[in-house]
């Protein structure tokens, strides 16, 4: 039984561990290392600057602007997406009322689910290209084409005031369907007896929604919150492809991920890019830990 045990274990682990060590672990270690150096990306890494990159960040207005935009997405993306997805999932699963003692979804709920989910399959890059045209600033754009002839065209992405809102809308458009399916799966696990009992007591659907569905679904909502928050820290494909001047106009849509990319590959600031990456890492980690912590208490109450 023990025959060839260690050769087998080593044989099965050697390739995955080697790949992971070289391309992932080593890269992350280097990211921490490079964050305290000033390095253009060429030649030896010699110019140690300590916390210089972080001090530079502190004085960088674009950094604060980007951070503000990430925060904007971080707050609004989860709230709106989860609210919409919960309502739609509820209508699909429980909205049909209860006839003959059986709670059910509205008619055609399967078709709705299939349509809602589809955007999730599209790459964010493809979605960015599509919506770049949907928000087109002249009559060739879908929305401007739909507006009455007499209106002067909306600029959407070219307007500093609305550009970030456009990004948010696209992210929501893509995400809602996924969470409808996710919440639907969770709602399917809630025993129908619970709904029936409540319905017999005369609970309306609104009561069912707030008193039964949401509390029993809280764990899934928590997961959704973390996922959407992490998505809010990304948004790179969208900003890089869809926005005017990539992050513009005038930095109005710049986000941290875009700053990292441009510093690393366009401004020859590999050290600064790594420092930004380290900040992004700690922000993501803090967010995830905070979310799980803050929401845990509420789940106990429910």
């Amino acid at each position: 039984m023990r025959h060839g045990r260690y050769p087998f274990i080593i044989g099965f682990l050697v390739v995955p561990v080697a790949l992971y060590a070289v391309f992932v672990v080593w890269a992350y270690i280097q990211a921490f290392y490079l964050s305290v150096y000033e390095w253009s990306g060429l030649g030896p890494v010699t110019n140690f600057v300590g916390l210089g990159n972080f001090r530079k960040m502190w004085d960088d207005t674009l950094f604060w602007q980007s951070l503000k935009h990430n925060a904007f997405l971080l707050v609004l993306l989860p709230i709106i997406t989860i609210a919409l997805a919960l309502v739609f999932a509820f209508l699909l699963n429980v909205g049909g009322g209860h006839k003959g003692g059986v709670t059910r979804g509205v008619w055609g709920s399967k078709v709705y689910r299939i349509i809602f989910f589809f955007p999730q399959l599209l790459a964010l890059a493809i979605v960015a290209v599509i919506f770049g045209r949907v928000f087109g600033p002249d009559k060739s754009g879908m929305l401007n084409g739909l507006f009455p002839e007499s209106w002067s065209p909306w600029l959407f992405l070219a307007d500093e005031r609305y550009a970030m809102a456009c990004i948010l809308i696209v992210l929501i458009w893509q995400a809602v369907g996924f969470y409808v399916v996710l919440f639907s799966a969770g709602m399917g696990n809630i025993p129908t007896e619970v709904y029936e009992a409540a319905a017999i007591d005369g609970a309306t659907r609104v009561t069912l929604f707030f008193r039964i569905t949401i509390p029993l679904l809280w764990n899934t909502v928590q997961v959704a919150w973390v996922y959407l928050g992490i998505a809010a820290f990304d948004a790179f494909a969208l900003v890089n492809i869809m926005t005017v001047d990539r992050g513009g106009p005038d930095g109005a849509t710049s986000v941290l991920s875009l700053m990292i990319y441009r510093n690393a590959f366009e401004f020859s600031q590999a050290g600064y890019a790594s420092a930004l990456g380290v900040v992004l890492f700690f922000l993501t980690l803090t967010f995830a830990a905070l979310t799980l912590r803050v929401t845990r208490r509420e789940s106990l109450e429910a």
Partner: protein, 309 residues
């Protein structure tokens, strides 16, 4: 105007709540119920339109000439169905090549991810040895790090190995960055499988390797299918890694579909010539719709499997 996509849902909620509150157990419940059902459908149809609208619009526009696109009336049928835009997208915009590149990379990297991921997950889940937990947590901790952080170093690692701008480099990176979640998911799955059959096989003298391929892999089939779909979709949609890695001389022949579309979009913007872009988009999206139509159930459960665990 900023909440165009969110209006249907938010509108429907307060309307629903006031109506529903008056429902209760009164005799006229039936009529009320119908009204609520109507509102529910209204909200759902509105969101279905918001979801499908842009895609239908892309399909219609792909048959239109550039002048027709600039006329407005986005949902008017094209004057005539011209396929010349598709010919352009295929030959001039090289959408066929980008598509082939993406298929090549994703097929190999997903196969590699599944092979190496399940091997590691199996050993880590079912064998006790020194360092087991350390290796497991090393893999799983990868889930906490944003890929962006590694971007610059990764570029120079690949450059040092001479793999920059090569499919080989990209495939290896895809596999490496897919391992944490694959191993996390599959290790839990392998742990949940019964031990009796495996023990019987050991008594019959099956080797460790044979047990893995002939007994454990078939038993883990449902988990493997979910995570395979998850990896295919994730790697197919990847944009950041190819943009960072597929650079250097000759790389314009090796663009992946996501990069290719983005590039077509940029050059279409310079010339304000959109019809080819729309055709390219349709050629990109259509295969996904076909695959989705066939495997809709598996895809939905595969993609949500990650979040449910």
């Amino acid at each position: 105007m900023t909440n165009i996509t969110s209006t249907p849902g938010t509108d429907a909620v307060p309307a629903l709540s006031t109506k529903a509150r008056s429902a209760g157990r009164k005799p006229d419940t039936k009529r009320e119920l119908k009204a609520i059902n109507g509102l529910a459908h209204l909200a759902l149809i509105a969101w279905a339109l918001v979801t499908a609208g842009p895609l239908i619009w892309v399909l219609l526009a792909s048959f239109k000439s550039n002048t027709e696109i600039f006329l407005g009336k986005p949902f008017a049928l094209p004057e005539m169905f011209s396929f010349s835009t598709y010919a352009n997208a295929w030959s001039d915009a090289h959408i066929g090549r980008y598509f082939f590149n993406s298929v090549l990379v994703v097929v190999i990297s997903t196969a590699g991810t599944m092979l190496f991921g399940s091997m590691a997950a199996y050993v880590l889940a079912r064998y006790r040895f020194f360092g087991n937990r350390a290796i497991y947590y090393l893999f799983v901790s990868g889930l906490a790090f944003p890929t962006f952080m590694a971007l610059a170093p990764l570029f120079y690692i690949l450059k040092g190995m001479g793999l920059l701008g090569s499919f080989t480099g990209l495939i290896l990176v895809y596999i490496a960055y897919s391992l944490p979640f694959t191993i996390f998911f599959l290790a839990a799955f392998f742990k949940s499988l019964p031990y009796e059959i495996e023990e019987a096989a050991t008594v019959d003298g099956a080797s460790h390797v044979r047990k893995f391929f002939q007994i454990m892999m078939p038993m883990a089939r449902s988990g493997l299918v979910s995570i395979t779909i998850f990896n295919i979709v994730g790697q197919w949609n990847q944009y950041l890694l190819p943009v960072a890695i597929m650079s250097g001389p000759g790389s314009d022949q090796k663009l992946l579909l996501t990069q290719g579309i983005a590039q077509i979009s940029v050059s279409a913007g310079y010339q304000a010539e959109w019809s080819t872009l729309f055709a390219a988009l349709v050629l990109t999206i259509l295969p996904m719709i076909i695959v989705y139509a066939i495997f809709q159930r598996q895809i939905q459960s595969g993609l949500t499997a990650g979040a449910v665990k």
